[in-house]
């Protein structure tokens, strides 16, 4: 059969099909396929990772509480490992800061949180990592953490010119208080104080244990 006549057959078949369709009953249609649940691999930080990812997507009291719960559990599990304990301590402080600051949390907090967690995960999943490498990772994250703390203090100083403990406050032009709901200044000041105390004590411990004399600014 030539193409032309093949096509004519097709056309007439189509025409009568269309006539039928728009006149008589036609065959019914499709169905859907079910989904399969995902499974997560076993990993000491697996549950904590979930909470970190949750926080990245949504900050709620539940996600923060879950995060802090997992930190507590991991602190117990890794209490003999000083480096890991310190990572967990930093994460714990960040969690506490986020919880108390709520809407006034500094945007860079989450970058630091994700970075600290990523380095911790690297260390935990590389049990053969030599001690100097681990220390180096910790130092880098502590630097980030201190950097964040400085940013928070600076921001607080320019928003509300009030002395916060021993921190020097730059003289700022009188500024209107930040609009919108947020944690009261006292809670924020307290969170920052806690951070400062923690950093001082941990740096001291770090210096003693690792024999480092230089202080990072």
């Amino acid at each position: 059969m030539s193409n032309t006549s093949k096509f004519e057959t097709l056309s007439s078949e189509l025409e009568s099909r269309l006539d039928d369709l728009f006149r008589e009953d036609a065959p019914p249609a499709a169905s859907a396929a079910p989904a399969r649940p995902a499974t997560t691999p076993d990993n000491p930080l697996g549950e904590l990772k979930k909470t970190v990812l949750s926080i990245d997507w949504e900050i709620t009291p539940e996600t923060i509480d879950s995060f802090q719960d997992h930190i507590r559990l991991l602190k117990e599990a890794f209490q003999r490992d000083k480096i890991i304990s310190m990572f967990l301590q930093i994460l714990g402080s960040l969690g506490q800061y986020i919880k108390t600051s709520r809407n006034n949390v500094h945007p860079s907090t989450f970058t630091v949180l994700n970075s600290v967690f990523a380095r911790l995960e690297e260390i935990v999943t590389s049990p053969t990592m030599p001690a100097p490498a681990r220390k180096k990772l910790l130092q880098a994250e502590m630097a980030l953490y201190q950097d964040l703390r400085d940013k928070i203090l600076k921001r607080r100083a320019s928003a509300q010119p009030r002395p916060a403990g021993k921190a020097a406050v730059t003289a700022a032009a009188p500024a209107a208080p930040a609009p919108g709901a947020g944690a009261p200044p006292e809670a924020l000041a307290q969170a920052i104080e806690e951070l400062k105390v923690f950093i001082r004590s941990e740096l001291k411990t770090l210096k003693e244990e690792l024999g480092i004399s230089a202080r990072r600014t």
Binding site: R102, P107, P179
Partner: protein, 136 residues
């Protein structure tokens, strides 16, 4: 249905968007109605987009996604967010009439953005709901 916003209301809306979002690192924010009309828009001065097309497409996109939600038995989705390599877009319904669209880079986490957006939305709702009631 029609609505009119006076200068004072628009100023107040822009102030909220600037303080909560632009000042916290959001690149661009626009408040639109569900038909894709722009109520107001702000950006951080870095990049200019074709916001009229963006608004029409955003409204269409939101509408299409809402239709998808209903097909799968949800009344609506609580998160509509598109992640790019450098820029991301987040949609938030303010009321049955208005949408808040934010464009932000990777220096802000989604969680943080959602936190700030929900704060803004609470304030915007008060202004916009009063407006819709007045014109109902």
């Amino acid at each position: 249905m029609s609505y009119t916003l006076d200068q004072k209301q628009l100023d107040r809306i822009e102030e909220i968007l600037k303080t909560d979002l632009i000042d916290n690192g959001v690149r661009c924010v626009f408040l639109i109605d569900m038909a894709g009309n722009i109520v107001t828009n702000l950006d951080n001065g870095e990049k200019q987009h074709d916001i009229y097309s963006l608004a029409a497409l955003a409204a269409g996109n939101f509408g299409a996604v809402s239709a998808m939600a209903k097909i799968i038995g949800e009344s609506e989705f609580s998160l509509l967010f598109h992640k790019g390599k450098k820029e991301n877009i987040h949609f938030n319904k303010i009321s049955s009439e208005f949408l808040l669209i934010t464009i932000f880079g990777n220096d802000i986490s989604l969680g943080f953005l959602r936190l700030k957006v929900s704060e803004s939305v609470e304030q915007l709702k008060r202004i916009l709901e009063a407006l819709m009631t007045a014109h109902a």
